[in-house]
């Protein structure tokens, strides 16, 4: 046995020709696209993702995976849609950056396994790098609803690429920030303040570490958490062909109980995976 049984989590997935409600440009590279998709919003859990086809026709051909950023509600408080945090890096993300209100994009979801949201007295520490902030708006909201002491460790290239800080502050989330250029927060990588905080944590306390971001940051976070004996869930990003378990492209090598490894499909078993089982090299 591998220790990972694949649950077919697509039972509630819906494909919606989602209308773009708003496109909020955050910077020259980042935007937040709000999509009308009540069926997806009603079923989504923090950490799940959607597969979006940004254009029509053959180029780009495949959908791209996006973490669900915010769950949107209408005036009556009913689920109305989702937003995604997008970073423009290629053809699909370029189209999503440029999408106009009224446009429609095919949006399939919610997909994948969500984060496990802890209860007090366990503290919830979220570690985000760049666009890896995406799943944490809803994780933070869920943690704070339960009264969990919540910290966001959030790193980016520069202060201009740290977004939604007031959103997290207003939820009562403590912010620990870092930038590579030192323009806001500590200069350097976000794992450094995480490491110090973990080292200072009393042994009897309980902490769950959540992480999403670049591979190097995830690996460093996983190692730091393990060194301090803290459980850690990471949301991985892989090149994904279908999001439904059909193509086997999004695999992550994970340790088996027998000491070997198994390529796990991150669309079905993830995107949230236990950090201590991933083979990071």
């Amino acid at each position: 046995m591998t220790g990972f049984t694949i649950a077919y989590t697509a039972d509630v997935a819906t494909d919606v020709a989602a209308r773009v409600i708003t496109n909020r440009v955050l910077s020259a590279h980042y935007n937040v696209l709000a999509l009308s998709a009540p069926e997806i919003a009603a079923a989504a859990a923090p950490g799940q993702f959607v597969m979006i086809k940004a254009g029509r026709g053959c180029d780009p051909l495949l959908r791209r995976p996006f973490s669900i950023f915010e769950l949107l509600r209408d005036d009556a408080g009913e689920p109305a849609g989702i937003s995604i945090l997008n970073k423009r890096i290629g053809a699909s993300t370029g189209l999503i950056y440029e999408a106009r209100p009224g446009h429609r994009v095919d949006c399939l979801g919610p997909l994948g396994r969500p984060f496990t949201v802890v209860e007090p007295p366990t503290a919830g520490w979220m570690v985000a790098g760049g666009v890896g902030l995406a799943p944490f708006a809803e994780v933070a909201a869920a943690l704070r609803r339960r009264g969990v002491a919540t910290v966001l460790f959030y790193g980016a290239r520069s202060g201009a690429e740290l977004f939604y800080l007031d959103f997290f502050r207003n939820l009562g989330v403590e912010l620990v920030l870092s930038t590579e250029d030192g323009s806001i927060g500590e200069r350097g990588r976000i794992v450094a303040p995480l490491e110090r905080r973990l080292a200072a944590q009393p042994p009897g306390s309980s902490v769950m570490v959540y992480a999403c971001g670049p591979e190097g940051m995830l690996a460093a976070t996983a190692k730091t958490a393990a060194r301090h004996g803290r459980p850690c869930q990471v949301s991985v990003e892989r090149i994904m062909g279908c999001g439904l378990g059909g193509c086997y492209s999004c695999v992550v090598p994970m340790r088996t109980d027998e000491g070997g490894f198994h390529h796990v499909r991150s669309c079905l078993a993830g995107p949230v995976l236990p950090a201590d089982r991933i083979l990071w090299d």
Binding site: A10, P60, I239
Partner: protein, 313 residues
């Protein structure tokens, strides 16, 4: 309502749409999304005797109107498939075509025996065309003798319909269809992917870990249609055509070129609900052309030679 059923040897499919091997997991992955018994058939991921982990990621890269993959035939092996997946597929009512792989003739025969002994397998597709593994696969499918030998070895151990899946990475694919027919194959499926590569010029590294991979998607469709057409001229056994089918017109091209059924892979990644569109589009076409049976469309290409003869050119 037109009759969409087609016959592959002794096997009757309720419609000509088959989920292509390697593009639909083991089928069960899609069961919560739609009723997979409504497909003509489901071709499973390729199975060796043993489990395989496949290639390290990255395993795919998108290309203009297509994609390149080198998964490396990750799979759970024939025995685990029979124990863990097949009962579920049977319960779902799926028509199951098992894609059989091997690194030796003995392995092809043994995997075929294992799946033939199980309940609920409709046919065997022989993977002699995977471009992404060092041993087996294309090593057999690129040799006429190898193609013959694999079919012959499997013919001896099963009564199920045998469908070798042919590679387009040869000079004359119709010669391979003939070799398969002569060895006792009940049908052939084609085309598997075209061996191809994509390079990141900034890093000068290949975009997938295996360096080379198989190209699929709409980009390859016209070549695949031509190859199906050539094979249809060369053999009497049914052809399962595939290569970049994304809508009903694409599927009809293959059928008119001579395919009895079609397989769809890459399009299912972009749109897992493509099947409804394909079936509705084909039904609509038959209605518009007042054709009662889909079988009457197969191999009906009009090359204009009669017309040309009439006008004396």
């Amino acid at each position: 309502m037109a009759d969409l059923s087609v016959r592959i040897g002794a096997l009757t499919l309720k419609n000509p749409l088959i989920a292509a091997s390697g593009c639909f997991g083991y089928g069960v992955e899609y069961a919560d999304l739609f009723d997979i018994s409504t497909l003509g058939a489901v071709a499973t991921k390729g199975l060796f005797l043993a489990e395989r982990e496949g290639h390290p990621p990255p395993r795919i890269v998108e290309t203009p109107a297509g994609m390149l993959n080198a998964i490396g035939l990750q799979g759970i092996g024939a025995r685990r498939f029979v124990e863990e997946k097949l009962p579920e597929l049977r319960a779902l009512g799926a028509t199951v075509i098992v894609n059989v792989c091997g690194t030796t003739l003995d392995e092809y025969a043994e995997v075929s025996r294992v799946v033939s002994d199980a309940e609920g397998v409709a046919a065997i597709e022989l993977n002699i065309s995977c471009p992404n593994i060092k041993e087996g696969g294309m090593q057999f499918g690129c040799s006429l003798a190898g193609t013959h030998d694999v079919v012959d070895a499997v013919r001896k151990v099963t009564r199920l319909p045998i469908i070798p899946k042919l590679t387009p990475n040869v000079t004359d694919v119709s010669a391979f269809a003939r070799a398969a027919e002569e060895a006792g194959a009940d049908a052939v499926s084609l085309v598997n992917t075209f061996l191809a590569m994509v390079i990141d010029v900034e890093t000068r590294r290949p975009k997938i870990s295996n360096v080379v991979g198989g190209l699929s998607g709409p980009a390859i469709r016209p070549i695949a249609v031509r190859m199906v057409y050539e094979c249809a001229q060369a053999v009497k056994i049914p052809i399962l055509g595939m290569g970049g089918i994304a809508d009903a017109r694409d599927a009809l091209e293959f059928l008119i070129a001579g395919a009895t059924a079609v397989q769809v892979g890459t399009a299912n990644f972009a749109d897992p609900f493509v099947w409804t569109k394909l079936l509705d589009g084909i039904s609509d076409y038959l209605q518009r052309h007042r054709i009662a049976r889909l079988a009457d469309v197969i191999g009906t290409l009009d090359t204009g030679t009669e017309h040309a003869a009439r006008i004396g050119s």
